[in-house]
Every structure is written in C-alpha cells, then in structure tokens.
C-alpha cells in the first residue's frame, strides 16, 4: 500500500514538474467546451439542451488525449520495466498509474465542471448532477482507457489507432453520463443513469488492471 502511494506521488511529481502534458489536456478540455457555443450558435435555449453532452464530450476527448501517454513515457525509457523488476506486481503499477492519471486529469475536469456549466449555459441548479456524473464517470474512463493505452505501447505507435479502439469502449460511459443530465433536465430524474454509471466503475476496476498489464507484457515479449 505504501509502495502504491509512492508510485502515485512519483507520477504526480512528474506532472507537476511539467514533464508530462497532463496540463495541456485540461487546457484542451476548456477550449473544446468553448468551441461548442462558437460552432452551434449562442442561442441560450439550444445551449441549455446540449450543455451536458458538450461537457461530457470535452471530458471524454481530454482524457482520450492524455490517456495515450498513460504508460508511454515510462514504457519507452524503460522505467516501467525497472519498477516491475523491483518486485511490485504490474497490476498494482497499472492501478497506481490510473489513480495518478485520474488525480491529475479526471479530478480537475470534475472541479472545473460547475464553472464551465455556467459558461455554456446549463441551469445552475443542475450543476450537482453534472459534477456527480463526472465524478463517477471519469475514473471509469481512465480505467477503461488503460488497456488500449497499454496496447498502443505494445504496438509502438499510438494516435489514431488508440482513439479508434478506445472510443467504442468508452461510449457507454458517455451515454449514461450525458443521459443522466438530460433526463434530469427533462424532469424524468437521472438516478437510474447514475446507478448504472456507478456500476461501471467497480466492474472496470476489476477487469482493466489485468487486461492492461497483460497488454504491457505483450510489448515486452
């Protein structure tokens, strides 16, 4: 457990010192949200209906961008191999990397969401459901994305291929997350969506460390 947090701190340190582009992903998140009113017109009614979906889309793309580099730098300079040789199981390392990624990428997205919902015109009374869905959804996005990110390391090239493999797997989270918001706005209540969304997290927590570490080992074979 102590080692787990040590690994998490190491990754966060790397982000803070600016050796990683996690900050750029957050900036991208802000920019992508601003794109929506500029592209679809500034009609307030329209913006209110698409606000939830727009923020979710931006969150998805921001994590997509940063996920490609989840294992890559450590994989390429060999430090991942060295950490594994020290006797920590790869599954734990994957979990620690996901946790660090969520802290540096998912958590800022969640924290910024109430402010952004004001900019994009979501009624302020719905900020909490946006924050709750993002809080439940972003860890799942990170965990689901870990396996394709590891696979892209094994191939040696990432980019479009990662996105192609990753997006279909992430779609259920997007559907439930933005569905909860629109269901709440339409008066149906978004609880059902939120329950389903919170079920995805433990399932992906169980499955993805094994599949992701299997994929990393594939790159070493």
């Amino acid at each position: 457990m102590k080692l787990f947090f040590k690994l998490v701190f190491r990754d966060i340190h790397i982000v803070i010192r600016g050796a990683s582009d996690a900050g750029a992903a957050i900036l991208f998140y802000l920019l992508a949200i601003i794109m929506f009113p500029l592209a679809s017109g500034t009609d307030t009614n329209l913006l209110t209906t698409i606000a939830g979906g727009a923020i979710w889309m931006a969150a998805l793309f921001a994590s997509l961008l940063s996920l490609d580099r989840l294992f890559r730098s450590d994989f390429e300079d060999g430090s991942l191999e060295q950490i594994v040789l020290s006797g920590i199981s790869l599954e734990i390392i994957v979990l620690s990397k996901c946790f660090a990624h969520w802290l540096t990428n998912g958590l800022p997205i969640v924290l910024l969401s109430p402010i952004l919902s004001l900019i994009i015109g979501l009624d302020f009374q719905y900020w909490w459901i946006l924050a709750v869905t993002l809080l439940l959804g972003t860890p799942s996005l990170t965990l689901i994305g870990a396996t394709p990110a590891a696979l892209s390391c094994a191939i040696g090239k990432g980019g479009v291929l990662t996105a192609l493999v990753l997006l279909p797997l992430m779609l259920p989270v997007l559907i439930l997350g933005s569905g909860a918001i629109s269901a709440e706005i339409s008066g149906l209540g978004g609880k059902g969506h939120i329950y389903a969304l919170s079920a995805i997290f433990p399932i992906s927590l169980l499955i993805s460390p094994f599949l992701a570490s299997r994929s990393i080992r594939l790159g070493w074979e």
């Binding site: 396996t147 696979l151 291929l161 259920p172 994929s215 594939l218």
Partner: protein, 244 residues
C-alpha cells in the same frame, strides 16, 4: 474432444482439414440459403401489419444473430489464445472479425431499410440500435488493431485482449430490448416461454439462420486457409533469402 483440439492445433494439419471440409460447408450453406430464400420470398404469408416488408426480417434477424454468435465465438477463441496459447485460435479469431463486421453491417442496413416504411425513420438512437452499432465499431477496431502489429503473434494477442474487453457489449445487446424502452421490438424467438412467432414464418427464419451459420463456417475456413498460406509463403520467402 481434447484430441480434436490437439489434432487441429497443427496449422498444416488444419489446412488439409479445412480444404476437405470447405466444399461440404459451402454446399450446405447454398442449400439452406436457397430453400430459406424461396420459403421467405414466395412461400410465407405477409404480415397482417407490416405487409410484405416482413420478408426483410428473414435476412435481418439471422444476420443480427450471427453478428453476436461470431463475436461470442471470437470471445471463446480469445480465451483459448490467451490461456492455452492455441495457435489456431489466433488465426480463427483474426479471420472471424471481418465476417462478423459484415454480418453486423448487414443487420444495421437491412434494419434501417425495414425501419423506414415501418417506423417511419431510417435510424433512431435507441438502446438496441446503439449497442449493435457499438458492436460494429468494436469489430472495426479489432480488425485495425490486429493488422497494426508487424508481429502476427503479438497482433493476435492484442486482438484477444480487445475482444475480451468488448465482450461486455454482448449481454447489453441481448437484453437491451428488455432493460430499456426501445422502438425495436422485444425478442420473439429466443425467450423463456417459447417462441411467439407463427410456424410459417419460423421455417424460413430458421433455414436462413442455418444458412448464415454455414456461411460463417465456409468463409472462416477459406479465410483461415488464405491466412495459413500467407504465413507459409512468408516463411518460404525468408528461407529463400537465407539460402541466397
């Protein structure tokens, strides 16, 4: 059972096996599909509500079943490939994906052709349609991913991992019509208290389903042969290079 798996694990043995089985599978497929089409097009009643458009169902439903059956068999092959490192499972999974993607596409296209006169719309984003569309995207991702690796062995492993990950979608597709209120009708053939479809319509449906199943077998066998020949050619090529 174990002996069969071990026997076919040898690629060159499987190649001969596939070569011998392939014509039979093709003939059975043609018989089933022709009889099924004849029943479906000429010898079955039009629906009292949908009229003649119901005949699209004889292609749509078997294609949709096959889309799921192919993915399920790919999941089983992926487990074989990851757990027992069965060399043939890799090849079969790789060759199944394009066939499965094609079945999914057929189901989507025929469904939307049927939907226009019946529902009045080509496409709705309800749970069944969306989940099948996601299945199609996963198939495409698998096809691209497996071929992105230079090393075939690694590509197959990566494909197996992706297949296992994407298998979450299968129960969602099956039960989407029960869990959500969808425009797509609920299951009427495979359900607990027996099928609720008349025999006259059941006969062509089942015939077409078997026809499509043998279509899958036939094309899987010929795809696998092509793949094996391709690999053998590569080996011969390398051998020749070494000799020179």
């Amino acid at each position: 059972m174990n002996n069969i798996f071990n026997f076919l694990a040898n690629p060159s043995r499987f190649r001969i096996f596939a070569k011998n089985i392939y014509p039979f599978s093709l003939i059975i497929m043609l018989i089933f599909i022709f009889i099924g089409l004849w029943f479906g097009l000429f010898n079955s009643p039009p629906d009292y509500q949908q009229g003649e458009t119901v005949r699209i169902m004889y292609v749509h439903v078997p294609a949709a079943w096959m889309a799921m059956i192919v993915y399920f068999s790919m999941t089983v092959m992926s487990i074989f490939s990851l757990v027992w490192r069965h060399p043939l499972a890799d090849i079969l999974a790789k060759c199944s994906a394009p066939i499965g993607a094609m079945f999914t596409l057929i189901a989507l296209v025929t469904g939307s052709i049927w939907g226009k006169p019946t529902w009045g719309t080509w496409w709705v984003w309800d749970a069944r349609l969306t989940s099948v569309f996601i299945l199609f995207l996963i198939y495409m991702g698998h096809i691209v991913l497996v071929r992105a690796f230079e090393d075939e062995y690694k590509g197959a492993r990566a494909g197996a991992i992706l297949t296992l990950f994407g298998a979450f979608n299968l129960p969602i597709i099956k039960f989407s019509v029960d869990w959500w209120n969808t425009l797509h009708q609920p299951a009427s053939v495979i359900k607990l208290n027996g099928p609720s479809i008349h025999n006259d319509m059941m006969v062509p449906l089942i015939l077409m389903a078997f026809g499509f199943l043998f279509f899958y077998f036939s094309f899987l066998l010929i795809n696998a042969q092509t793949e094996l020949n391709h690999r053998k050619l590569k080996k011969l090529f390398i051998k020749q290079l070494n000799l020179n």
